[in-house]
């Protein structure tokens, strides 16, 4: 339940996010939330809307704008994912997504560091940010000063589970081990980037040239909370079509609808080398408010509607 002062802080966060990107010459865009065709993704279930779909993320339209010549753009918008509800999930949530051409995922990691550093200065009156360069959340003191730890998925599995990531994937234990053994350990002293995901888990991410088994994808963790997901964008149209075909085959095997997003693939031909990232604004505000449940960080949790 957010009252007047919580809503004011949330509004100040929104203002600070916009100011950060506008100052860096990012273009703010607002793309449609209702779409006739989505990017096929195996583990995301979208809400249907009169024959179309509510967007599970603004990725599709924002990349089409990249292809149209916008080279730095950001958006703060609502996204919808069916069957996602819990301490860190609501089926409607607020996303910040940004794209930048001419950089890869390493560039985005650096920008995340700069974003949080900037917020911690702008929002110094938040009770959680009163010690300079530090986030106080529950009983934790999280050091926000860069550089943040970068930990590969490969090393994280070795360090925290004792199982190689390849074996975890083969035995269908990847997600379970990630949730039970790895995530709770990440970002407890300072934020952590978990990076270089198995290729199969980055359907829109570019394959690493140096390490062909992984995709150039990362997730940002603070206090065990997955806050953002970014990657170097795949711009190889043939490869993207192949990966979509395999996602569509999986979705069809589950009895779910999916179609090849032809207009997206058509525009992808013209998309420059770039990187993009999505950050959960409700989760960020949850961390900045010192609360542990996303419902305490939004104006109307679902059960209050």
């Amino acid at each position: 339940m957010l009252g007047p002062s919580g809503l004011r802080r949330r509004s100040e966060l929104m203002g600070a996010l916009r100011a950060f990107f506008v100052a860096r010459d990012y273009l703010e865009v607002d793309t449609p939330v209702r779409l006739p065709c989505l990017l096929p993704e195996a583990h995301i279930v979208a809400f249907s809307s009169d024959g179309w779909w509510l967007q599970p993320s603004p990725e599709l339209c924002m990349k089409r704008l990249l292809a149209r010549g916008c080279d730095r753009l950001f958006q703060i918008c609502h996204c919808f994912r069916k069957e996602e509800c819990g301490r860190l999930h609501q089926s409607e949530f607020c996303m910040l997504e940004w794209y930048c051409s001419g950089v890869d995922y390493l560039g985005l990691m650096a920008e995340c560091e700069e974003l949080l550093t900037s917020l911690s200065r702008t929002l110094i009156h938040f009770p959680s940010l009163q010690v300079s360069g530090q986030l106080q959340w529950q009983d934790k003191k999280i050091d926000l000063s860069p550089p943040w730890e970068r930990l590969s998925v490969h090393d994280a599995f070795r360090r925290y589970t004792g199982m190689e990531v390849e074996e975890a994937l083969a035995r269908d234990l990847f997600e379970e081990l990630l949730v039970s053994h790895i995530e709770p350990r990440l970002g407890q002293q300072g934020p952590v980037f978990l990076y270089d995901y198995p290729l199969a888990l980055g359907s829109l991410a570019r394959r690493s040239a140096a390490r062909p088994k992984v995709a150039e994808r990362f997730e940002l963790y603070i206090a065990g909370v997955e806050l953002a997901n970014g990657f170097s964008e795949l711009t190889d149209v043939k490869e993207q079509r192949r990966r979509f075909a395999s996602e569509i085959a999986f979705l069809h095997s589950q009895g779910r609808e999916a179609a090849m997003p032809e207009r997206f693939l058509n525009d992808l031909e013209h998309m420059p080398a770039s990187a993009g990232i999505a950050l959960g604004v409700d989760r960020l505000f949850m961390l900045l408010s010192g609360v542990t449940d996303i419902r305490q960080a939004i104006p109307f949790p679902e059960e209050t509607l």
Partner: protein
């Protein structure tokens, strides 16, 4: 049948012919991967607890429970007595069986008592109950501390966060599923 996405705290399911209630629940979906439903359950007959992680495709049977409308009469020691409002038959449930329902249960309240065969095993409360605030700090108008809520205690002893204007003696409506404040009620 229920699917994993129906799982939530308080849901009752049937496993191997016995009724279970979900006591703790955590949804997670790491890194665009499969959804995981980490669940802690209690056998509603034996009280035995266990934890299990389910996935989207898992399905569960609904337990075969009969519901009867009953009125809460009184408690003695750790036994809470209810009466069938049609047949006047009386039964009781234990403190352990009622668990967090006791946060919202007051004398004369009508509830649904759930029977597995002829054994009462649980109750289901009205979704919204009106309870009196028995302990509350006075409202300091013009408070600039920036807090939107304050803690109060209601007649059952349950504590919750409410807006600052709620005062001692007020009746408030509470959502019994979440224990959260909904509104102040005038009676």
């Amino acid at each position: 049948m229920y699917t994993a996405s129906d799982l939530r705290k308080g849901l009752k399911i049937q496993i191997d012919g016995e009724p279970y209630i979900v006591t703790e629940f955590d949804f997670s979906k790491p890194g665009k991967g499969q959804a995981l439903y980490r669940t802690k359950m209690r056998n509603m007959i034996t009280g035995v607890q266990f934890t299990q992680t389910y996935r989207s495709n898992d399905k569960f049977e609904r337990p075969d429970l009969e519901e009867r409308t009953m009125q809460f009469l009184y408690s003695q020691d750790d036994e809470f007595h209810f009466m069938d409002t049609a047949s006047y038959e009386q039964i009781f449930l234990t403190r352990e069986q009622l668990g967090e329902h006791l946060n919202f249960l007051i004398d004369n309240m009508e509830v649904q008592v759930l029977f597995f065969g002829d054994r009462p095993i649980d109750i289901s409360l009205p979704t919204f109950v009106n309870l009196e605030v028995t302990v509350a700090d006075p409202w300091a108008r013009g408070d600039t501390s920036g807090t939107d809520t304050k803690p109060v205690t209601v007649q059952t002893g349950f504590q919750l966060q409410v807006p600052p204007f709620v005062e001692q003696g007020d009746k408030i409506q509470i959502d019994t599923r979440t224990g959260t404040y909904i509104t102040r009620v005038k009676e």
